[in-house]
């Protein structure tokens, strides 16, 4: 397992890589080592689960679509003064 860039038995080393792991930004070897560690470590696993729930909540947090319609109307009116004609 020389491809792994950290001590995968060390919980702190695992948690240090939590965000890049959840963002899919680690090498395949590092990602696999973390996955193996999480399978056997409830403490680390709970941190990752909490963080993943947070990311999912943020990803789904979007303003009301009606709010965008209001902004769109404002923008299209301003563009119309420049000669813009919106097409469907």
């Amino acid at each position: 397992m020389s491809d792994v860039s950290f001590d995968s038995t060390n919980c702190e080393a695992i948690v240090r890589r939590m965000w890049p792991h959840l963002d899919g930004a680690l090498s395949e070897a590092d990602r696999a080592a973390i996955t193996r560690h999480l399978e056997g470590c409830g403490a680390c696993s709970s941190h990752f689960t909490f963080a993943q729930s947070f990311l999912e909540a943020v990803h789904e947090a979007k303003p009301d679509p009606a709010d965008f319609d209001r902004v769109l109307g404002k923008v299209v009116r301003a563009l119309a003064a420049e000669g813009f004609v919106k097409t469907p």
């Binding site: 240090r16 943020v58 299209v76 097409t87």
Partner: protein, 235 residues
């Protein structure tokens, strides 16, 4: 060449060379560039100008306007105020429309518009952007684990699963430092990679990571406060 212009309006208006990051008024409007090809515009040229404008408007409607929700989120994160953010969206789209001929359709229009948005904000505020120190980004992962422990200690471990935090998250992102809020929107809402954000924001990847992780921790802390204020405790 007049024949080329009449038969290929898209090519015509894409012959401009201005860039949206340049100050306003520094570019020649594509339509006037077309008509100035000869000293006395004919009726045929007038028709071609209309065709050019119609083609530009159709492209702009199909490509740029559907991205308004994305740009609104970015603008509000940058402006830290919905009203200012909406003004910034309007300014962004006005500039994008004026310089639409410079947009390369082989590239991601979100990134092009977000760059215009950032330049517009800079011009509007005339502020000097401070460069944050790139600290050990991994420390923020450790800090996030501490946030989790604190949440567990006060009965908030399952708050993301049991509470509708959407409005609170939108509000909390708006309260972040703009340089953090922008990256959270690009990463965690729009789904851009570290590499893509580094290009869009024009900072090193290490800075992207540092800002993103710190912003997430600040958001987590803000949401804990919100949940506690709302009286939620699963104990």
């Amino acid at each position: 060449m007049a024949g080329t212009i009449r038969t290929d309006p898209l090519f015509c208006y894409r012959m401009g060379t201005s860039h949206p990051s340049l100050p306003e008024g520094s570019a020649t409007e594509s339509s006037s560039a077309t008509t100035s090809a000869t000293s006395a515009p004919s009726a045929v040229q007038a028709v071609s100008v209309q065709a050019i404008q119609a083609a530009r408007d159709a492209e702009f409607s199909a490509i740029a306007l559907p991205l308004l929700p994305t740009i609104t989120r970015i603008a509000r994160a940058l402006a830290r105020d919905d009203a200012d953010g909406d003004d910034l969206v309007q300014e962004t789209y006005l500039r994008a429309y004026r310089y639409w001929h410079t947009f390369d359709q082989q590239t991601d229009c979100r990134l092009w518009l977000s760059a215009i948005c950032r330049n517009a904000l800079h011009d509007m505020r005339r502020r000097t952007r401070h460069e944050d120190a790139v600290e050990d980004a991994e420390l923020e992962s450790l800090a996030a684990a501490q946030v989790h422990k604190a949440a567990r200690a006060v009965g908030l471990e399952d708050m993301y699963d049991r509470l509708d935090l959407g409005p609170a998250i939108v509000k909390a992102i708006g309260k972040l430092d703009p340089i953090f809020g922008e990256i959270v929107v690009l990463s965690d809402i729009e789904g851009l990679s570290y590499d893509e954000i580094a290009v869009a924001v024009d900072v090193p990847i290490g800075t992207v990571r540092s800002r993103l992780y710190r912003a997430r921790r600040q958001l987590q802390e803000a949401l804990m406060v919100y949940a506690l204020d709302a009286g939620y405790r699963n104990v």
